[in-house]
């Protein structure tokens, strides 16, 4: 069944501090979970919820994004009636890049205006979760909310950079602050906002007319008194992945089979770009434990507590421990990796050793040879 809900994955000024991992790509396409990109989680959730119209508001460094999303066919969004819309920023001069997201919402308003769908969910790409937006919309309608914000009770949070929200006894949001604020609360915002399309367009026009151009900061947060802004509590797994510690922490959490099952299958499967790699080959003498291994790998050495993306080679007597090796990485004979994150196509030559710390992984740039 199709939901009367259209999606926006808003990549404009996403909060992030990913250092080298986003030097040549946007946060949305940071590789995660052995074969995915961050954006796959929210995009698959939307599709599995019954949404068939999703726009991605791209902003900067979006070559990898266009390459990854293609026609949308991997998410079943290559449809005649609606489907996937990747909308690059509409700018007149360089200074427009500095303007807030509402400015781009305004420039892309035809996307909203042309659709008969009544509701919009505005989301970000870096919330790693598997969520049913139909339930969010149900609650939104049942409670008569103006805006519903997907939130999570997350006392241990603190790793990724998240907005915090304070709720009253009825679950209405009474205060909300950016990640650097002093608001004390165990509830974090998952940056998914459900509202009527008409209200969104009103907020865009009104805010811009008032000289304000940030959706959450200027259109939502100052109106917590005037609009009924309610929280929808997400019960499933959440990883807020927008800095290195959170990337490393939430990646390694996938090595818990319960998390693996929940994140990748419940309530629906997570889709990504198909690569047609063969099954992974384990050779005689290999030893792999407590690890997540994608297809197309060729393993002769030892791998412990690690995540290998597609097409990684681990040669004889090499050891990979508590590390993340992205696509097509090569670990030479007698090489040693411990607490490392290797970006795509990094080659560790024979006998080389790389060691990071468990709270500060070593990061190798894309295509680096060590």
């Amino acid at each position: 069944m199709k939901l009367p809900l259209m999606g926006v994955i808003n990549l404009i000024h996403e909060t992030e501090d990913m250092g080298p991992l986003t030097s040549a790509r946007c946060l949305a396409t940071v590789p995660f979970g052995a074969r995915y990109r961050l954006i796959d989680f929210v995009l698959s959730s939307m599709v599995n919820s019954g949404m068939n119209k999703v726009a991605v508001f791209a902003h900067t460094k979006y070559r990898s994004l266009m390459d990854h999303l293609g026609s949308g066919s991997n998410w079943d969004l290559h449809s005649k009636q609606s489907g996937l819309f990747v909308l690059p920023p509409s700018i007149e001069d360089q200074s427009d890049f500095g303007k807030g997201d509402l400015y781009q919402f305004y420039r892309h308003r035809d996307y909203f205006a042309r659709s008969p769908l009544e509701y919009v969910v505005v989301a970000r790409s870096h919330m790693v979760c598997n969520i049913d937006f139909a339930k969010v919309l149900d609650q939104h309608r049942a409670r008569g909310s103006d805006i519903t914000v997907v939130c999570k009770e997350w006392p241990e949070a603190a790793t990724g950079l998240t907005r915090k929200a304070k709720l009253d006894a009825d679950g209405r949001i009474v205060d909300m602050q950016d990640h650097f604020g002093r608001l004390a609360s165990d509830v974090v915002s998952m940056e998914m906002y459900v509202l009527r399309k008409e209200l969104l367009l009103d907020l865009v026009d009104t805010s811009l007319a008032q000289g304000k151009d940030h959706f959450v900061r200027h259109a939502v947060m100052p109106r917590l008194g005037e609009l009924k802004v309610d929280a929808y509590m997400h019960e499933g797994f959440l990883g807020v992945v927008n800095n290195i510690p959170s990337y490393y922490k939430h990646s390694l959490e996938l090595l818990d089979p319960n998390v693996w099952n929940e994140l990748f299958f419940e309530p629906g499967p997570i889709f990504t770009k198909v690569k047609d790699e063969p099954p992974t080959r384990y050779r005689a003498g290999s030893s792999v434990t407590g690890s997540l291994i994608a297809n197309g790998c060729d393993i002769e050495g030892r791998v412990e507590g690690s995540i290998l993306f597609r097409g990684v080679k681990v040669h004889k007597d090499a050891v990979v421990r508590n590390s993340i090796v992205m696509q097509n990485g090569v670990i030479g004979e007698h090489g040693l990796l411990s607490n490392c994150i290797l970006d795509k196509e990094v080659e560790i030559r024979s006998d080389q050793q790389l060691m990071g710390a468990s709270d500060l992984p070593y990061i190798a740039l894309k295509r680096k040879i060590i």
Partner: protein, 387 residues
């Protein structure tokens, strides 16, 4: 009208009777192979990699699984405007219709489809074989020889020659004799069941064959011998790569085991000749702290907590703690409980093997088989192949 120089007709109606419980609901081309693929993926990928963009797939026996798998050909890049992949089951005409009586009759019944593309050449292949072959080289040799038909051949051991269609050739590789499964072979060049015909010649031969009383309407038994008798220009094209007919439980098991060699003759990792398949889109597989995996192929979506040695695990297989799997093939979605022991066996897709079961053994004469969807309850023993 879309004109193609060469189109492919892929015979995919094989029943695969000798694969027993593995083909009870599906045609042989749809049988799983190599941890991720179905047999037909190899020929379809060969077509695409050889630059052939128009493929007619002739289905007959148990087509449901196969039809659903093929869809509109997108996984192989065959959802094309103009050409692309077309599934061609037997159909009813105003004067009635018939089942495909033989391989040649299947093509005869689809002459209208072929004419629609007005091809110079037609490639005839079957969805029963595992191999990687550049059909463009076959076509080039066909053109170079100004042949009427070119047959791909492979050298087989003399001892096995009597199981194949055997061709004797002169010094120019022109066919001088063809014998179907000869008791006393004069050559060890075996037909791979891969033919290129000049369409005009084939069309005429098909019409004549259809009018011939008592013909079995088969390429190997009727079309080729008749063309040879008539003095047509028949040539062979030698192929020296890996080629296997996986028509029996033993050969299916062996072909899977062949992939576990250090340098397998069939290289699945060659990025210039990828084998495409319908992607299950499952997460990366998980090997638990209690797992041990060696000399094996494992596909996405698997969860392994036990020991896997010299085996092939398809997508979404789970292996419980304490279980031991050796020299075996475990097909998609099979669930293996705890402390089970599976040796020299094929476990069909969706099968369930309960805790403590023993399937097959290292010294058994036959490969043990658990049929697709079968349930083997806890502590059961299955050491002989099911009939």
């Amino acid at each position: 009208m879309h004109k193609s120089e060469c189109i492919a007709m892929l015979l995919a109606g094989g029943e695969g009777r000798r694969l027993g419980v593995l083909t009870k609901d599906l045609a042989k081309p749809a049988v799983h192979f190599g941890g991720k693929y179905r047999i037909i993926d190899f020929t379809l990928s060969n077509c695409v990699n050889s630059g052939i963009d128009t493929v007619g797939v002739l289905t007959q026996y148990q087509p449901l699984v196969l039809n659903r798998y093929l869809g509109i050909g997108s996984p192989w890049g065959l959802d094309r405007r103009g050409g692309g992949m077309h599934v061609l089951p037997p159909y009813v005409r105003s004067k009635g219709g018939t089942w495909y009586k033989g391989t040649a009759n299947a093509i005869y019944q689809n002459m209208g489809f072929i004419e629609g593309y007005d091809p110079e050449y037609v490639l005839i292949i079957s969805g029963d074989h595992i191999y990687k072959m550049d059909y463009d080289e076959l076509l080039e040799s066909h053109k170079r020889n100004r042949a009427d038909a070119t047959i791909a051949v492979i050298t087989v051991p003399w001892a096995e020659a009597s199981r194949f269609g055997i061709l004797s050739v002169d010094e120019d590789d022109r066919v001088v004799e063809f014998a179907e499964k000869p008791k006393q072979p004069n050559s060890n060049l075996a037909s791979m069941g891969v033919y290129i015909f000049s369409w005009k010649v084939l069309k005429e031969a098909l019409i004549r064959d259809e009018a011939t009383q008592g013909s079995s309407n088969d390429f190997g038994k009727d079309i080729i011998p008749t063309l040879l008798e008539d003095g047509a220009r028949l040539f062979t094209h030698r192929f020296d790569g890996y080629w296997k007919d996986v028509g029996t439980i033993d050969s299916l098991w062996e072909a899977n085991m062949d992939l576990l060699e250090d340098e397998p003759a069939l290289n699945l990792n060659d990025r210039s000749w990828r084998i495409y398949s319908v992607n299950p889109n499952m997460p990366a597989h998980y090997l638990s702290p209690t797992s041990s995996v060696q000399s094996s192929l494992i596909n996405e979506g698997c969860v392994v907590e036990g020991t896997v040695n010299r085996s092939v695990l398809f997508q979404c297989v789970t292996v419980g703690e304490g279980s031991f799997i050796e020299d075996s093939v475990i097909m998609p979605n099979a669930k293996i409980g705890k402390n089970a022991r599976i040796v020299r066996a094929i476990v069909g897709d969706g099968a369930f093997v309960g805790d403590g079961c023993v399937i097959g053994s290292a010294d058994a004469a036959e490969i043990a088989v658990v049929g697709s969807g079968d349930r083997i309850e806890a502590e059961a023993k299955l050491e002989e192949a099911k009939s």
